[in-house]
């Protein structure tokens, strides 16, 4: 998907009360380079936000009645962002934080936060912001 498509998708589907649209956009870039059909061959991580079966189950357990996702839907970009952004809040507030409960450990979100900050201050040169994501 293009950057513009992702920005629109996130604006319309970000369910998080904690994380900005820019943060989610940068996280999606870091996880999958905006490719909604990406999967991890060694785990169940699927779709734009690379949601595992465990993450989807956690969202279903912690969300209000009527909110339910299937892991098989996670290549659907809309469902993925809705479920993934709900999971981000759970990771922050009920688990060990985004770095450890979503990412690879301490430092995982550092580049995302830098990217988010750059996007907020200069949306025109978004490419420079995306390049803040590095190993």
């Amino acid at each position: 998907m293009t950057y513009e498509e992702i920005v629109k998708l996130v604006a319309e589907n970000n369910q998080s009360k904690e994380f900005s649209n820019e943060f989610v956009t940068c996280l999606i870039w870091k996880e999958t380079s905006f490719e909604p059909s990406e999967k991890n061959s060694k785990s169940s991580a699927t779709g734009l936000m690379q949601l595992t079966k465990g993450a989807v189950e956690m969202v279903n357990r912690c969300s209000p009645k009527g909110v339910h996702f299937e892991h098989s839907e996670m290549t659907d970009a809309v469902k993925n962002v809705q479920c993934g952004t709900l999971y981000l809040d759970i990771a922050k507030n009920k688990l060990g934080g985004v770095d450890t409960s979503y990412g690879t450990g301490p430092g995982y979100s550092r580049g995302i936060v830098t990217c988010e900050s750059c996007l907020k201050s200069d949306v025109v040169h978004y490419q420079a912001a995306l390049q803040k994501i590095h190993n």
Binding site: W29, K30, E35, N40, S41, L130, H134, N135
Partner: protein, 156 residues
């Protein structure tokens, strides 16, 4: 005179048909992976795409050991695409996709294979292309453009 004209038309049509005939369809087992993931095993007892004997051997010869090791760590993958007569395989490092990524390109009409790598760290970035017959600039421009978009060197 009419007979001669008819004969000339027939010869012209035959020659035209020869010149403009489409290339024969590609008959490669690797086409089984189009739309599937590289780690899928669509051929019974056949292994993954990168385990196919010819491709595995080519990549082993082509890639320096550190790059081969890196490729083995790229568990995040997109479905295999066909672009013209080429198969395109995109893989990247989990949780660092645009910063550590690879594209393998297989020419379905010959034994040509390319592997492109990109890494971005806090201290710099590097692009490396390996080809067994040709350099990267022999690739269709669309494939090179997609490679650049995947890591943000051109706008995604």
């Amino acid at each position: 005179m009419n007979a001669l004209r008819t004969a000339l038309v027939a010869v012209t049509l035959c020659l035209g048909a020869t010149v403009f005939a489409a290339e024969p369809d590609i008959d490669s087992p690797l086409l089984s992976w189009v739309g599937k993931f590289p780690s899928d095993t669509p051929i019974a007892n056949g292994g993954t795409l990168l385990q196919q004997a010819g491709l595995r051997k080519t990549l082993k010869t082509l890639l320096p050991a550190p790059e081969a090791k890196r490729l083995g760590e790229f568990d995040t993958e997109a479905p295999v695409r066909r672009v013209d007569d080429y198969l395109v395989v995109d893989k990247c490092r989990p949780h660092a996709c645009p910063a550590d990524t690879a594209t393998i390109v297989i020419d379905l009409r010959s034994d040509r294979v390319w592997a492109g790598f990109f890494t971005r760290s806090a201290t710099g970035m590097a692009t490396r292309w390996y080809g067994n017959r040709d350099d990267w600039n022999a690739l269709p421009p669309a494939i090179v453009t997609d490679f650049l978009k995947r890591h943000g060197s051109i706008a995604p």
